[in-house]
């Protein structure tokens, strides 16, 4: 019955809204994206194959809606880049003078099993929130939404080099954070 599905989808609204807010950082846009997602889901409910969870399916639709919105509002929100976010000097503390790591990156064991654990993604989210704003934004556009680097540079009006530096900063930051907060305790 379509009514049942509508109700079931509706229970995911808060989680979807949170996801959209993290990507868009704009309440009105986030609400629009979620609304469009739920409408599309109800219309396309018969296409839901049940291979993934309902939430995973809904998030998949939402990602497309968010990418559309980012494209439509391109140039309206150029990135306000601070020098600190494009410099790499603060990372020098990770390395010795000869360029080797001060502390050996840890062996993460079998990280794949983390992917089925809710708590892991909560940790990932906290680590993302700990990154500088633009760094997190570019990382999520690239890795969560899967947008190509060339397009990210264009949408945010930044150079390719700055884009790569931001992504590198994000990955290094997340690596250190996950190692501290997840892989040293759980694995």
């Amino acid at each position: 019955m379509p009514g049942d599905k509508t109700l079931e989808f509706e229970t995911h609204r808060p989680a979807l809204l949170k996801f959209a807010m993290l990507q868009l950082r704009n309440q009105a846009q986030a609400e629009d994206a979620v609304q469009e997602t739920l409408i599309a889901a109800i219309q396309g409910a018969k296409n839901f194959g049940g291979k993934s969870s309902v939430r995973t399916w809904l998030v998949g639709i939402l990602k497309h809606k968010i990418v559309d919105l980012i494209r439509r509002s391109s140039r309206e929100q150029p990135l306000d880049l601070q020098d600190a976010e494009t410099s790499l000097e603060d990372f020098d503390v990770l390395y010795k003078e000869d360029g080797h790591y001060v502390s050996m990156p840890a062996e993460w064991g079998d990280p794949e099993k983390a992917l089925s654990q809710r708590k892991f993604f909560e940790t990932l989210e906290r680590c993302l929130q700990g990154l500088p704003k633009n760094t997190a934004r570019v990382f999520m556009m690239r890795e969560v939404l899967g947008i190509e680097t060339g397009e990210i540079c264009k949408e945010l009006a930044i150079t390719a080099t700055n884009c790569w530096v931001l992504l590198y900063r994000a990955r290094m930051g997340l690596r250190v954070c996950l190692e501290e907060r997840w892989f040293s305790t759980d694995a």
Partner: protein, 64 residues
């Protein structure tokens, strides 16, 4: 071109976002062949890509 771990880390990351030049790829491969630290970083960056693609993850443990 001889890479330090610092250089290698940047190339590992950039290699996820663009095609590296042939000399860059060769230098990185050589570095990784001898460096356990960067081999770990390489695996970790790739794992983080898979994790981010699945974000926000399962709504119950054990689901995909």
């Amino acid at each position: 071109m001889r890479l330090t771990c610092k250089d290698a880390g940047r190339l590992i990351s950039e290699g996820l976002d663009r095609k590296l030049s042939l000399p860059q790829r060769a230098a990185l491969r050589l570095h990784l062949a001898f460096c356990d630290a960067c081999t770990r970083v390489n695996a970790q960056f790739r794992f983080m890509r898979r994790a981010a693609a699945r974000y926000p993850g399962p709504d119950r443990d054990g689901e995909s």
